[in-house]
C-alpha cells in the first residue's frame, strides 16, 4: 500500500489496520497464513521466517508485543500454537490481543475444544471462520454467535457427496 502525503491535519498513513496473521507451531511449522496486503511469495517467505524466529526466541514471561520494521507484532501462545498478528504502528495493541483471543474462541466454539490437530486437518475451515470475522485487515463482525451461525449455515449449503456428484458443474 502506498503512503499518501495528505494536507497537514490529516493522518498520513493510509494502510489497513492489520497486515498479516500467522499461526505456527512450536517447531515453526506454519498452520495458517492470512495476508491483508499484496506481497510477493518471496516477501511472504521471508516474513514467515522472521516471525517464527523472533517469536520462538522470546522468553516465556515477556510482554506480547514486538517491533519489526514499521509494524507492531502481537503474538500469543495458545497450547501448542502461536498466533502472530502484525498491525500498523498507530494501532491499539491491547485490542489486537482481543482480536486474537476472539479468533481462538471462534475456533473453539466451532471445533469444540480446539487443538492444533483440528487446525491441521481442517485448515480450510479455519480460513472460512477467519473470513467471517475479519476482512481486508479490519474486523467484520463483533458477535461470536453471528459468525458461528454463518459458518454453520454455509456448511449446510455444502453439498453432500451424492448431491455433489449429481449436480452439474456449470
Amino acid at each position: 500500500m502506498c503512503l499518501i502525503v495528505a494536507p497537514s491535519d490529516l493522518l498520513v498513513c493510509l494502510c489497513c489496520q492489520m497486515r498479516f496473521l500467522l499461526l505456527f507451531s512450536r517447531q515453526g511449522k506454519l498452520r495458517l497464513q492470512k495476508w491483508f496486503t499484496p506481497m510477493s511469495d518471496r516477501e511472504k517467505k521471508k516474513i514467515i521466517r522472521d516471525m517464527t524466529t523472533m517469536v520462538l526466541a522470546r522468553q516465556p514471561r515477556s510482554c506480547n508485543f514486538l517491533h519489526w520494521k514499521d509494524l507492531k507484532i502481537i503474538y500469543k501462545r495458545y497450547a501448542s500454537l502461536y498466533f502472530c498478528l502484525a498491525i500498523e504502528s498507530q494501532e491499539n495493541e491491547l485490542l489486537a490481543l482481543e482480536v486474537i483471543h476472539r479468533y481462538v474462541e471462534l475456533l473453539d466454539k466451532y471445533f469444540g475444544n480446539v487443538c492444533e490437530l483440528d487446525i491441521i486437518f481442517n485448515f480450510e475451515k479455519a480460513y472460512f471462520i477467519l473470513d467471517e470475522f475479519l476482512m481486508g485487515g479490519e474486523i467484520q463482525e463483533t458477535s461470536k454467535q453471528v459468525v458461528n451461525r454463518c459458518i454453520e449455515s454455509s456448511d449446510m449449503l455444502q453439498e453432500t457427496m451424492e448431491e455433489y456428484m449429481s449436480k452439474p458443474a456449470f
Partner: protein, 673 residues
C-alpha cells in the same frame, strides 16, 4: 482411474514422513497425480485436488499450476466448489498477476447471486485482494449492496467499499450517498464496518471530514448506549459490551475532534465517562481505556481531561500486566513533548521500569527516561542511566550511550564536569556506540576537565589494549595519549603505568592495523608526533614519522611530511624550546555532504603577540569527515599574556562563498604560561 485420495488422507500420509526428503517425495508424487487430473479437466475431483494443493502450498511447495483451477471452481455452480475456489484464489493469486482479472466476471455474477453466502464469498474475495481494475469494474455492485437491508451483506459491502477506496481513491465520492443512514443500524456488525468506512473516508478527504463532523452527537449516543446498556450476551466480553465497536468509535471521534473545538467539546463528557467507568481488571477494559487516552490526547480536550488521561497512563505503569506497562510507556513517550510536566510526575515509576525484566519495556523506559532529563533532574537521572548503561544488554548499549552523551552535553554544567566526563567515558568505553561526529566534541569535553586528564588517559589506554576495532574510541584514545602521554607514563595513575616504548608500540600498532580507518591513522600519527615533546624516545618517533612520509594514504603522507619538516627545521627548538613560543596546530574537518574548497584560515592576535602561519596541508576540506586540513601556527608571546585570537575562515561550499568569524578565548593555560 481410481479417485484421487481425499484431503485428510493426504494430510495423514504426509505427516508420517520422517524426513524432509521423504515428505518431498510424497508431495511430488501427489502433485503429479493432481496435474494429470487437472489436464483431464475432471470436474468431480477438481475441488478435492485444489484443496490438497492448498495444503501442500502451506507446507511451502509451489502450487501455481493450480491457479486456473481455482478460477474454474469459482465459476462452478456448486457451493463446495466456490468455497474452495475463492479460498484458493485468495491464497494462490494476487493482483500482480494478470490471471486474477479473469475472476472479475465470476465475482460480478456471484455478487448478484440468490444465495447470500455466495454473495458473501464474492464480497470477501473482492475486499481482500481486488486489484484496482477489478475494483473499478465492480464498485457499482458494491455500492448497491451497501444499501441493502440484509445486514450480513451490508457489513461486508462496507468493508469491501473500504478496500475499493484504498485501491481507487477517486471512487470515494460514489459511496457517499449510501453512508447516509449507516449509523442508524442496530446490527453491530454493520455499525462496526460502517464506522470503519466513515473513518477511511474522513482520513482521506478534508471535505469528507468536515461533512461527517455532524455525526459526532450520534456517535456519542451510540457509545453511551454501549456503556450504559445492560448485559448483552451477543456482544459481551468480560462484562464490557462490544469493546471492538467502542474502540472503533473512539478512533473515529479522535479524527473528528482533532483540530475542532466544537466537536471536541461535544465528546468531552463521554470521554470522561468512559475513562472513569471502564472496568480495568481485564485486558479488554484497558484496551478501551488506552484508546480513550489516545483520543483525549489528540483532540482539543480541556486540561482536566488531559490530566485524567496521563494519570490513567500512570496507573497503567503500576499494573501487573506487562503488556499494559509497555503500552503506557509507549503512550507517555508520545505525550512527553506536549504534556511534559504531567509526565514528569511519573518519573520515578518510569525509571523503575529500567529494571524491568522485559526487554521491550526496558527499551521504552530508556527512551522515555532520556526524554524526561532536564536541568533539574540531571544528577539523579544520570546516575540511573549510567547504571543502566553499565548493566544493560548489548542491544541497548548503542542507543543508551548516545542518549547519555546527548544528555550530558545538553544539561551538564561546570559543577557537574566530573559526572559529565565519567558519563562520556562510559559511552566511549561502551564501544563504537558513539557516533563518529561526536569525536571532536568528546575531545573538547575531556580537554575542559583538567583534573580528570590523568584518569581519562589511563582508562582509554587500557581500553585500547583490549580492543582497537571501535574507531571513535580509538580516535579519542589516540588524541588523549598524544596530549596527555606524559601523565600516562609518569606514575600519576593508581595502576601500573606503561613505559614509553609500550605506549609507542600501541600507537604504531594502530597505524598498521587493518581495523584502523584512514582518519584513525591520522590521529595515531599526530599523537606519536606530539609525544616527541613529551617522551624521550625521539629517535624512534622520528623514524616512524619519516616512514609515513611515503605512505600511499595522502592524508597520512602529508602529515608525516609536515611533521618531518618540524623535526628538521625546528628541531633546535626541541632542546631549548623558546618558552615564549606556542605552537598550535589546527585541524579543520567538514561533516557536511559537500566539500569546502578554497579554504583559507586567517588569524589575528592582540598587539603584544606575534603570529606566524605556516602553509596549510591543503585548501580543500573533504566532505563527510573524510579528511582534515592541518595548519601550524606559531605564536610569540613574550609578555606571557593570555592568548586570545580572532579567526576568520573563508571557503566555498556548494558553489557559494562562505565566511565565518569567531573569537577563540579558551586556549589551555599551558599554551601561553
Amino acid at each position: 482411474m481410481p479417485a484421487p485420495i481425499r484431503l485428510r488422507e493426504l494430510i495423514r500420509t504426509i505427516r508420517t514422513a520422517r524426513t524432509q526428503a521423504e515428505e518431498r517425495e510424497m508431495i511430488q508424487k501427489e502433485c503429479a497425480a493432481i496435474r494429470s487430473s487437472f489436464r483431464e479437466e475432471d470436474n468431480t475431483y477438481r475441488c478435492r485436488n485444489v484443496a490438497k494443493l492448498l495444503y501442500m502450498h502451506m507446507l511451502g511447495y509451489p502450487a501455481h499450476f493450480g491457479q486456473l483451477e481455482c478460477l474454474k471452481l469459482i465459476a462452478s455452480q456448486k457451493f463446495t466448489d466456490k468455497r474452495i475456489g475463492y479460498l484458493g484464489a485468495m491464497l494462490l493469486l494476487d493482483e500482480r498477476q494478470d490471471v486474477h482479472l479473469l475472476m472479475t466476471n465470476c465475482i460480478k455474477n456471484d455478487l448478484n447471486h440468490s444465495t447470500q453466502y455466495v454473495q458473501g464469498l464474492a464480497l470477501c474475495t473482492l475486499g481482500c485482494m481486488g486489484s484496482s481494475e477489478m475494483c473499478r469494474d465492480l464498485a457499482g455492485e458494491v455500492e448497491k449492496l451497501l444499501k441493502t437491508s440484509n445486514s450480513y451483506l451490508r457489513k461486508k459491502a462496507a468493508l469491501c467499499a473500504v478496500h475499493v477506496i484504498r485501491k481507487v481513491p477517486e471512487l470515494m465520492e460514489m459511496f457517499l450517498p449510501a453512508t447516509k443512514n449507516l449509523l442508524s443500524e442496530k446490527n453491530h456488525g454493520v455499525l462496526h464496518t460502517s464506522v470503519v468506512l466513515l473513518t477511511e473516508m474522513c482520513e482521506r478527504s478534508p471535505d469528507m471530514l468536515a461533512h461527517f463532523r455532524k455525526l459526532v452527537p450520534q456517535l456519542v449516543r451510540i457509545l453511551k448506549n454501549l456503556i450504559m446498556s445492560g448485559y448483552s450476551p451477543e456482544h459481551d466480553v468480560s462484562g464490557i459490551s462490544d469493546p471492538f465497536l467502542q474502540v472503533r468509535i473512539l478512533r473515529l471521534l479522535r479524527i473528528l475532534g482533532k483540530s475542532d473545538d466544537d466537536s471536541s467539546e461535544a465528546m468531552n463528557d463521554i470521554l470522561a465517562q468512559v475513562a472513569t467507568n471502564t472496568e480495568t481488571s481485564k485486558n479488554v477494559g484497558n484496551a478501551i481505556l488506552y484508546e480513550t487516552v489516545l483520543t483525549i490526547m489528540d483532540i482539543k480536550s480541556e486540561s482536566g481531561l488531559r490530566v485524567l488521561a496521563i494519570n490513567i497512563l500512570g496507573r497503567f505503569l503500576l499494573n501487573n500486566d506487562k503488556n499494559i506497562r509497555y503500552v503506557a510507556l509507549t503512550s507517555l513517550l508520545k505525550t512527553v513533548q506536549t504534556d511534559h510536566n504531567a509526565v514528569q510526575r511519573h518519573r520515578s515509576t518510569i525509571v523503575d521500569c529500567l529494571k524491568d525484566l522485559d526487554v521491550s519495556i526496558k527499551r521504552r523506559a530508556m527512551e522515555l527516561s532520556f526524554a524526561l532529563v532536564n536541568g533539574n533532574n540531571i544528577r539523579g537521572m544520570m546516575k540511573e542511566l549510567l547504571y543502566f548503561l553499565d548493566s544493560c544488554d548489548p542491544e541497548f548499549k548503542a542507543d543508551c550511550a548516545s542518549g547519555v552523551f546527548l544528555a550530558a552535553e545538553k544539561y551538564g554544567t561546570d559543577s557537574l564536569t566530573s559526572l559529565h566526563v565519567t558519563a562520556v567515558l562510559s559511552c566511549v568505553l561502551a564501544g563504537s556506540y558513539v557516533r563518529d561526529d561526536s569525536v571532536p566534541n568528546l575531545i573538547q569535553l575531556i580537554t575542559n576537565s583538567v583534573e580528570m586528564h590523568a584518569y581519562t588517559v589511563q582508562r582509554l589506554y587500557k581500553a585500547l589494549l583490549d580492543d582497537i576495532s571501535q574507531q571513535p574510541l580509538v580516535q579519542v584514545a589516540s588524541w588523549c595519549i598524544g596530549e596527555y602521554g606524559d601523565l600516562l607514563v609518569s606514575g600519576q595513575c593508581e595502576e601500573e603505568e606503561p613505559i614509553q616504548d609500550e605506549v609507542l608500540d600501541v600507537l604504531e600498532g594502530l597505524l598498521v592495523s587493518n581495523l584502523s580507518t584512514p582518519v584513525t591513522r591520522g590521529y595515531a600519527l599526530t599523537a606519536i608526533m606530539k609525544l616527541s615533546t613529551r617522551f624521550s624516545s625521539v629517535n624512534r618517533i622520528k623514524k616512524v614519522v619519516s616512514i609515513y612520509g611515503s605512505s600511499i594514504d595522502v592524508e597520512l603522507q602529508q602529515r608525516a611530511v609536515e611533521y618531518n619538516a618540524l623535526f628538521k627545521k625546528y628541531d633546535h627548538m626541541r632542546a631549548n624550546p623558546n618558552p615564549n613560543i606556542a605552537v598550535i596546530t589546527i585541524h579543520a574537518s567538514n561533516s557536511t555532504e559537500a566539500e569546502m574548497t578554497d579554504f583559507v584560515f586567517q588569524a589575528a592576535v592582540p598587539k603584544t603577540f606575534q603570529l606566524q602561519l605556516l602553509s596549510p596541508s591543503s585548501n580543500v576540506v573533504p566532505a563527510l569527515n573524510q579528511g582534515t586540513v592541518t595548519q601550524v601556527i606559531r605564536v610569540l608571546n613574550p609578555q606571557k599574556q593570555q592568548l586570545r585570537m580572532r579567526i576568520k575562515l573563508t571557503y566555498t561550499h556548494k558553489g557559494s562563498p562562505v565566511q565565518d568569524l569567531a573569537e577563540v578565548n579558551n586556549f589551555p593555560p599551558q599554551s601561553w604560561q
